[in-house]
């Protein structure tokens, strides 16, 4: 039986995951805000089933966050607006966006590449960049280790080709 831990504190300690996943799947700031809130709500609903002995909170959080993000990304065209939607104004992603914009060319190119990838590949590369090894990524995403390895290899190749095209132009 896991200890009762303050959910809010855990989320707060790992809030970076929320925003990185949202940034990987949403181009528009207001969509990012919505996705972050959706992820938190799903985390809360799944929290009673979280077993701290089987996976770290960050790993569990990534799994749920990516599932929500991928579902939202796929359903974006079919989404029905909520009745009496709240217009609470934009979340303050301005500071985050400034930090992202101040990154070097390599990171900008990486962001562009991520935006062009399919849902699953985005999840793979995000986890890889966050320091997860291939076997951990496989377990997190439910893909086979060889599938993860193949996909990451292809992404690396695309990045290399993008760099080559950039040099020649």
């Amino acid at each position: 039986m896991r200890d009762q831990v303050d959910f809010i504190k855990l989320i707060d300690a790992h809030k970076g995951i929320l925003y990185k996943v949202a940034n990987a799947y949403c181009a528009r700031r207001e969509e990012r805000g919505d996705l972050v809130q959706d992820i938190i709500v799903e985390l809360w609903r799944a929290y009673p089933r979280y077993d701290g002995t089987r996976a770290a909170f960050s790993t569990w959080m990534y799994r749920i966050a990516l599932n929500v993000a991928i579902s939202a990304h796929r359903d974006a065209g079919r989404r029905v607006s909520e009745a009496l939607s709240l217009d609470l104004g934009d979340m303050d992603f301005a500071a985050t966006d400034r930090e992202l914009a101040s990154g070097d060319d390599g990171l900008h190119a990486l962001q562009q590449l991520m935006a062009s990838l399919d849902d699953i590949s985005r999840a793979l590369i995000l986890l890889y960049l966050e320091g997860y090894e291939q076997d951990e990524i496989a377990e997190l995403t439910g893909l086979s280790a060889s599938n993860v390895s193949t996909r990451l290899h292809r992404i690396k190749q695309r990045l290399h080709e993008q760099a080559q095209n950039g040099k020649s132009s």
């Binding site: 809010i8 709500v41 609470l88 104004g89 990171l107």
Partner: protein, 427 residues
Amino acid sequence: MSGMDLDQLRGRWQQQSRRIDATLSLDIERVRARLQMRTQSAFQRHTRWLLLALGFGAATLLALGLFTFTNRQDVAYLLASVPLLGLVLAEFVTDFRQWRTLARLDSSQPIIEVRATLQALRTRRLRMVRWILLSCVLLWLPALAVLLKGLFGIDLLRGLHFSVILANLLLGFACIPFGILLMRWLGERLSGAPAWQRMLDDASGSSFSAAQNHFESQLGFEAQLAQSPDTRSLLEQMDASWPAPTVALLRSLQRRVLASVFCYATLILLLGNFNVEHGGQPQFLVPGLLLHFVALAQMIASIVDRVLLVQIGPGQVLDVQSQLLTLRRIAHWRVKLAQITIIALPLALLAAFQVLPEVLWRVDWLGAASAQLHVALAIVTAFSCAGLALQMRRRPDTSRLLDVLSFGVLAKNRALRQQLEHHLRSK
């Protein structure tokens, strides 16, 4: 372009991530709002299904009632249809009571009371399902007989041997106490099992269960917030203090609403007096009554706003997020009323042009006008109303006119919400 190796970028990405982490802040209020919104939407979806069920139930009741009346001389079919009618009526009443309770559910009530209400609705629904299950063995044959007789004229009861009908009746009656015992035993043995809970969720209505689950999530989250000392103190700070301009704006809104109540009340009294004086004179009574109803609708809206605004303010029981929701709800219905008023404006203006000359100069200009002018006015008014209705569909947010029709309440409401949202973000 250098540094495009993914493994090299990994390190730089992680450095950037650490810098980004330092800029982020978690907005609990938006999570609460999102949970509230999900609960509301889930209940709205369930209500739509309920209305569908009520429609179907009403049609079934009508059909069964007609059948019972038509076959009232035939004892066999009377005995077959009356219990069915009772069961369908009980089901209809259960659905209706659930729909009515959910329609009146006040989200600003204490959460524990709302939870108890939802649980009572679920219990009532499960009880109804239980009785349907218990009586299905008894009533399947009468239901089939009534259906065949009603739809195709086939007399099943007379086609079957009496022993078959008797055996079915005896078995059906025997199944009832047996079924009660079985359900009690299953309930005791399986009460914690997920499969049993899923079955109960399906029996109480999957859309209702989904809505109730959303509500429980919201309740649990609120409880979590209440336990967490950091978030509790932050929320208390946010709720207890409002900036002075925001408080001033709230007071101004409250005064404006009160003023609109008095203005419309005065108009209603004057129009009431006019209508009494012109009883028996339809050329004045009809426009007078029309204007009376318009003023009455506006006054009722203002009274409702006044009552709801009592919950708004620093140090109230409702937290700021719920107060924002209330303000938005007030604005939503005010906009709807103003849009209807805009559509009816040509008619109201025509009525006013008939009433005012009579009040001021005792002139009945419509009575003096020709029939062709009456027809022309009717056509122009009808087309204008239709045109405005179309305009409202295309551009529902014609802010200035809506503000004027709401006595300026909408503009102040909007300004107050903006200030409150700014206040929330700055905390």
